[in-house]
Subunit: 383 residues, 2 copies
């Protein structure tokens, strides 16, 4: 049997949006193979229809429609690299046809659409995972161990994350992430996904009590978010903030502060160096005698890796798929849960932005008082 001959998980990719990294990761993974690519995009004259060339990567099959790829019984798992507005339809369809599903982040435009995908996966008993790579990096595991250390870090109190990058004029005009019909969440769904995800990760996936957008959201002409932020407040006096943007210099900062120690990373979404990722910890810092300074200063910890984080992700996903396919293991529900909770908070930030969140309530209080006064005058008339 062919399956026994090649034990690797056969991936099919739907769409051509930034698939290069994942396609290469699949190619370089020992547990997965790129079986097929399907594209329905409009192509320029120098690109063959139905195929988006990825340098150094070859798929066994190329399809001109997503339907055809999903009809291919050899495909074990699909990676949905379509604009976000198309995720729900195609990821759910893939799941209904028994394909395991990995979806580019943000996995959906809102929780309702994501739930459609997740329920389709549950119904078919297939694995769901969104393609948030940094969660699979060994550094992330090491940082989490520090955050969980009651002696060194204690209880989490404050956190700030910032994921920003200054996009090109061409991106601002053409990228799917600036188009209301394709990826209406803009910077919130893209860079903000990492910010919110990192805060929930640090909070052990507890959900925040309040989600309040910061003032100063920037929209493009079509109303898509180019820059925004929010505060997330949790039980136990843990308060976090984040800022995400397409309009400022590249940052991927995370600072988490506990009752006893602090954690910092400047590149948490993607390490500066694919072979070596650093994070910084400090515990029990206090003033030196005579206030001559304070100590300890943050200590660097470097995690060496032999693979890019995207490869770790593909291998983790493939391993789960293998377990389900070969050993009858149940899908790991941790991954859809992480996605759904992150998406829920994205929804709440969006709602708070739409409602003008973070605005002072002062004017409304004035209005309420005025109206009460009017009622009293009214009643006096009645008497």
């Amino acid at each position: 049997m062919a399956e026994k001959a090649d034990p690797r998980i056969k991936f099919g990719i739907l769409g051509c949006i930034s698939i290069a990294r994942l396609a290469r990761a699949i190619a370089s993974s020992t547990s997965a193979t790129l079986h097929a690519i399907a594209s329905q995009q409009q192509h320029s004259a120098d690109e063959p229809a139905g195929f988006s060339p990825v340098e150094g990567v070859a798929a066994k099959k190329l399809y001109g429609s997503y339907e055809e790829l999903l009809d291919d019984e050899e495909v074990d798992a699909v990676y949905v690299a379509l604009p976000t507005s198309h995720h729900a339809r195609w990821a759910a369809e893939a799941a209904r046809r028994g394909k395991h599903v990995m979806v580019e982040k943000p996995p959906a435009l809102d929780l309702e659409a994501l739930t459609e995908i997740v329920e389709a996966c549950e119904g078919s008993g297939v694995q769901f995972m969104d393609a948030t790579m940094w969660l699979h990096h060994p550094r992330t595991v090491a940082m989490k161990a520090f955050l969980s250390d009651q002696e060194a870090f204690g209880e989490i109190k404050e956190m700030h994350t910032s994921v920003t990058f200054k996009v090109s004029p061409s991106f601002l005009k053409n990228d799917v992430r600036v188009k209301p019909d394709l990826d209406a969440l803009g910077a919130l769904g893209d860079a903000g996904w990492y910010c919110i995800g990192s805060i929930l990760w640090a909070a052990d996936y507890r959900l925040p009590r309040t989600v309040t957008a910061l003032p100063g959201t920037v929209f493009n002409e079509a109303g898509v978010i180019m820059s925004c932020g929010a505060s997330l407040q949790f039980e136990g006096s843990f308060v976090s903030t984040f800022q995400c943007s397409f309009l400022s210099s590249m940052t991927m900062d995370m600072v988490a502060n506990g009752s006893k120690g602090s954690l910092r990373a400047c590149d948490f979404v993607l390490p500066f160096d694919e072979a070596r990722a650093s994070y910084y910890t400090s515990s029990g810092a206090w003033f030196l005698e005579g206030l001559a300074g304070w100590a300890p200063s943050p200590v660097e910890h470097a995690v060496a890796t032999d693979r890019q984080q995207v490869v770790f992700m593909v291998e983790e996903f493939s391993s789960l798929v293998k377990g389900i396919k070969r050993d009858g293991v149940k899908p790991d529900l941790k991954w859809p849960e992480i996605s759904q909770k992150t998406q829920l908070v994205v929804d709440k930030v969006k709602l708070s932005i739409d409602r003008g969140g973070g605005r002072q309530c002062r004017n409304l209080i004035g209005l309420v008082l005025l109206v009460f006064f009017a009622i009293i005058v009214n009643f006096l008339f009645l008497l």
Copy 2:
């Protein structure tokens, strides 16, 4: 004449609250001398009344009342180290008697009280300065030069600062900063003063358009702020956040992000090392080929110093006083302006906290609709 024999500025210190550092700085400065200390505090049995001993520091005169020190015509300048609630009275009184005034931070409980001090200084033609030391460190000058570099940093877009330290149970019970009658601003006036000051410093002392407290303010039993945060939004889509606390591990983080570069420091309020202060810059960061990482990572810049920042502050203040006293130069109005703007924003954060700032306006909107409905029903009755 005695004045010619000793050209140093003669300092008098009012009060004994954390005067050790400043007393030593005056002693080690070549431009100032500690002439007198006045204390009216209640003392424990093992402390002589009217004198708080500062190891290794000797004042020429010790007074048992502030009045006596202010009557001493030899005193050029006073450092007001009283609880914040007493600043306005004594700093203004010192100014009216022709003494130059340096006030411990926060300089006052609110802008009104600070303005009383500043106006008394203006009326007497004396120098005013609050004792925010980090503004006088050479590193601060170097960091500002980077922020002002249009090529390397560009226009400021986001900033987050965090000043926190976990105080002892004894501090939580006894320190002036937890007492509503002494320093009702608590962590906001102490740690938050640095956060707000650093954001205004980065914003070239423009004032924010909106000031909104973050949810999750923590108060002690007496209603004093132990932990809080806010967002400050400026013209030009610059949005900043800060968090200050007496309840979490020590941090003094500043991250400022511009359109072209970013600036970081982990110890901006007080360098880890008094001889060497670092900050980190990065400009033009972008993804590497194949998304294998990104570059450049932040570059460390170290500023070596031969003095503590408190000495730089005392020398800057003494130099201004000398200019006024000997050369008829006008007081430098930059310093009261910085203090007043910082205090104004402290006031606004406090107001936003008192008003439940950061809360969603949703419930109020519902209330307004309800009340309008009631009015309409009312009018129907009238008809």
